[in-house]
Symmetry: C2
Subunit: 648 residues, 2 copies
């Protein structure tokens, strides 16, 4: 796609954007503040800019007079970039030039660390856990009338070098008739063991050659959502994917409330049935989208947290929520998927991701495997940010992990105008250091309804950086703007006035909201800090940061470092994994090597219970500041804050 260079004046800041980008988003991306409140609907009319060179499409509005239009004025939120541009931002307030440099740093989200099938193939690691072998058997004769199963095993050994083969009664029942139906030309489906000395299990026999029809399903069993993908084990392609809400949601939003429900009469059975219903719904969609037959799926790899895993397997999870927080198991054996009600053929094998502890489950292990951190020398910090946050630190030689309860702030919970990251959520924010007027971006470019987690981080980061709030999250009561006010005894900053919202109320952020965010980020940061300290390191030793979980992709990294959610590091060192649990499940589906390695990794991962680590509370108290009580750990931010002070 064609790129265009936009030069924003008077700051003379340049940015390259793709053809067709929205102009106000380009400004936000460049860190250039333009007042804007309505999310891009053109109703507030505040985002007036002058196109001095180049062409934009649209950008016209009744809010602009014919003279304005003649002079090149456009509404940035309605304008689409079609060429290189020189755009002037009208300076409406009289601030001195140094303040102009206090604009937001360019938005910087993490690079996505994708799945690289070719690399797998090049390393000879494209070894699916389930393989198919085609066999042309000699027909039995009077001189050669060995048992059918013996014939099959013998030729698998002679022609395909297969050893340590076993099978079960169900397969044996089909063999005599199938061999004859297929004129002794058949395809055997073989499940590979994890360890070299394990057995190769024949799970299915089909007449004819079906070796090119070998499909797998990878599935992430999340507390909130379940995502699945159909994989072609022959070509390595992802054929289809789909996600849906976990049907257990009506029995509780988080794992604790699910466990509580499971303790009621028939509760466990109901939750098991519900999650399987969703799995089957997702399966139905992805099978249909992929255009394959249900019984061509030979394996389904499932990754979920410890509670989701135990609920799916109908294993009482009650001890997960009670001290000392003991999960039933770490490793689960392969089993026929149909055994737990998953609507796949009897020969389809379910492989469940192992976990580490009650709160560091298979989803995190899948992420660790998918991220490749278990193969690197670099000291890596892996964080899955959410209500329950998990932290893994280590590299190929050692790993330590822990989990902490961050509370729901990152998902918009416990915040006055908080909401999930959906249409109308404020996801990005800038503030004019002079006028203290905001620049608002919403998901879907519609009028705002509330604030999502990533928006909250950015808002707090910007308010802090220009000194609107102090390092304890309290507003500077001396600032002269009607946007900062006290309502019902709580100080707040008005982000959007009610006429520009969808909810007919002012949308604001108050000190309680900020306090919630500070406690959430403090839990994460101090969790990582405590874990590091337990292994004799400090946060400055981190060489790479990996973000997992749905939230990770949206975070503006600089802002996350500004509030002290992430340690300050070069954003280039931060990568985002997408749905890391699904990624790990997918990679295991493609290579049995990962399944072998995961056993070693799980053994290697040392779990720490923060509640049992006395220093955690000290670290937590130190992290209840923006960014932290030790500002010296954030040298770049420190420099910016000092510059801001000087500018004022």
């Amino acid at each position: 796609m064609e790129n265009h260079t936009i030069t924003f004046l008077p700051h003379d800041r340049k940015i390259k954007v793709a053809e067709g980008e929205n102009l106000i988003r380009a400004a936000m991306e460049a860190g250039v503040h333009v007042n804007a409140s309505c999310g891009g609907e053109g109703v507030c009319g505040k985002c007036r800019v002058i196109i001095e060179q180049g062409e934009v499409e649209e950008g016209l509005s009744e809010r602009l007079s014919p003279e304005d239009i003649e002079q090149g004025y456009r509404l940035a939120c309605l304008a689409t970039v079609r060429s290189d541009l020189v755009v002037r931002i009208p300076v409406e307030s009289d601030v001195d030039a140094s303040v102009l440099n206090l604009q937001a740093s360019p938005r910087h989200t993490a690079r996505i660390k994708g799945f690289d099938l070719n690399a797998l193939k090049e390393q000879g690691l494209f070894i699916p856990p389930v393989e198919k072998k085609y066999l042309v058997l000699p027909e039995p004769t009077a001189q050669d009338n060995i048992a059918d199963v013996t014939r099959l095993l013998h030729h698998l050994k002679m022609e395909h070098g297969e050893h340590r083969l076993v099978t079960d009664l169900n397969v044996m029942r089909t063999i005599p008739d199938l061999l004859r139906e297929g004129n002794f030309k058949v395809t055997a489906t073989i499940v590979r063991p994890v360890r070299k000395d394990g057995k190769n299990q024949i799970v299915h026999i089909e007449p004819g050659d079906t070796t090119d029809r070998n499909f797998a399903v990878a599935m992430d069993i999340g507390t909130t959502t379940i995502y699945g993908e159909v994989l072609d084990l022959h070509t390595g392609e992802v054929l289809s994917s789909y996600g849906d809400f976990n049907g257990q949601i009506s029995y509780g939003e988080d794992v604790i409330s699910r466990i509580v429900f499971s303790e009621k009469k028939d509760g466990l059975e109901i939750l098991q049935k519900k999650v399987v219903e969703t799995i089957n719904k997702v399966l139905g969609k992805i099978i249909s989208k992929a255009g394959i037959s249900r019984n061509e799926i030979t394996t389904i790899t499932l990754a979920g947290n410890s509670t989701m895993t135990q609920l799916l397997l109908r294993i009482n999870p009650t001890y997960i929520r009670r001290a000392p927080y003991v999960p039933a198991s770490i490793l689960y054996p392969p089993f026929p998927a149909s055994e737990v009600g998953i609507d796949l053929a009897g020969h389809s094998i379910a492989l469940v991701y192992p976990g580490v502890s009650s709160y560091v489950g298979g989803d995190i292990v899948a992420g660790v495997m998918g991220s490749g951190m278990y193969r690197t020398d670099k000291l890596t910090l892996f964080m899955d940010i959410g209500t329950n946050a998990e932290i893994v630190i280590g590299n190929k030689d050692w790993m330590a992990c822990t989990a902490c309860s961050a509370g729901p702030a990152f998902e918009g919970g416990g915040v006055t105008f908080g909401m999930r990251a959906s249409k109308g959520a404020i996801e990005d924010f800038s503030i004019d250091p002079g006028t203290l007027e905001p620049m608002i971006m919403t998901i879907g470019n519609v009028r705002p309804k509330g604030i999502c987690g990533s928006g909250l981080i950015t808002i707090v980061a910007r308010l802090f950086e220009i000194g609107v709030i102090d390092n304890r999250g309290k507003f500077d009561r001396t600032l002269s703007t009607d946007r900062i006010r006290k309502r019902e005894d709580v100080w707040e900053y008005v982000l959007v006035r009610k006429d520009a919202t969808q909810i007919d109320r002012d949308i604001s952020i108050n000190e309680l909201d900020i306090d919630n965010l500070i406690r959430a980020k403090g839990a994460m940061y101090s969790g990582a800090q405590t874990l590091l300290e337990e292994v004799g390191l400090t946060i400055n030793d981190i060489e790479e940061v990996i973000l997992a979980g749905g939230f990770g992709s949206y975070i503006d990294l600089e802002k996350a470092m500004t509030i002290g959610l992430l340690p300050e590091t070069d954003p280039e060192r931060v990568t985002y994994l997408g749905n890391s649990s699904l990624l790990g499940a997918k990679m295991s589906s493609f290579t049995n090597r990962l399944r072998r390695d995961v056993g070693e990794v799980v053994k290697m991962m040392t779990n720490f219970e923060l509640a049992e680590t006395p220093s955690y509370m000290d670290h937590y108290m130190g992290a209840l500041f923006l960014p932290h009580t030790n500002l010296s750990d954030f040298p770049r931010l420190k420099a910016r804050l000092e510059a801001t002070k000087r500018a004022k």
Copy 2:
């Protein structure tokens, strides 16, 4: 028990018998002929003997006059031995002394080769395939909150040296609650692998210490009958046993008719259900008799022929009866017994004896294992005599096997007055060489109803030895007795006149009956001969003979050698295994070593299809004589026949 010595005059033949023995059975045992027809009911009054010294109880009858009684006459069939005796047999016909020596050789059945638990224990081989281990686990704490399954596995390893442990979802589901119910004191039930490098599978966890409650069931799944035993794996005792007719019997008497039925719609399902019904009935009886609880049974070992095995496992057996006679499998994996409908707890594991071919099945392999022939240097001939007869030849270094269809003669089928070995069947026979009058013994000492297989062998052997029939089984038409006659164009010998029978008809044996027996024994003998020839040996090389199957215990060995069913050998070298299939199943239940060895034995056993061995028909033709066309292979018999000739 006290023994008494009986001296029979005028032959001066001595025999030791147990206190309380029936006098006519003692005579038969001694090879002393006494005319007798009524089986022991005293109605024919022919078995008059004179008690010259000592005491008998009873023996009185209306058939004896007061003078007879005064002189010491008693009816032998009604007399019970109570002291040492001198008994004179009145010689009623005027035969010369030399003929007196032509009496029957003493009855000689094979020694029973029992199960020797102590020997197993001494050899360190008392290693049941399922063991129980008691564990006192430390309760989880905040510092030690590893997963429940991990805790269990870890302590099994540390305290009991258990390695390579695996378990399944069903067990995992029970572990969290059970550990706490039992205050972390639990007993784990572990199924041992056959091979050292296999996995040890935890199949059950119970609260508390139940290590002394570990029971197994051994079961013989016969075409006709199903026998089961409850075994105490802790003490090695057999606690109870019971047998019943296989419920499949109404769908066909032999394996072929069962297979034919299985080919009909739902036939396989019906037969599977029927055999399981019988298994469950037998189980119910032996569990109740043993006074144990059903869920204390940890394993059930099943041995049956290939058809019975496939029907039980619901595997289509149709290819067993169609050339080239291919069974589905040789080895079957362990599986939960409840999976096929056996009424045992879900953790009870079924172990199915492997077979060799379609007609040398798990029952024969169990017999080979139970007999110990796979551990001896001696060249052994193992025969399971029945409608379908199986022959195994070899020793610890090699083994060859085959099966032949002998027809139903040994079980009383295809014989005019043939019947199963039950009450009223003529089971033993002697003939007075002079008068040609018979001496008849029946099962249960009641009036005769017919002839069972072992009776048939003895009758034919005696008739042949004294020259009533020739070596082609034809009667000597010149003999002057009304017992030999032609009826409906067929020559016959009248065994019992109708007034001494239960059936109000003369009971006889005719040339067609004899021909049937000759063909049955010819099939057996020539089968063994062909098999030996295929491995480069002759029948004279046989050092030991092992008889298996229900029939084997009843055979009079000398008579079986006389007709050429068995090769002529020292009867001391012949042993009888009892229910060899059950014996093998029992031994496997007690020692996993046998389960390991059986895999090697099955691999070592070379199967020969007689139909595919051209020399079989030649050998068979040669065996259609009494005892055989080559009389020189029977030197002792040859000498006796020559003596008989001279005596006449």
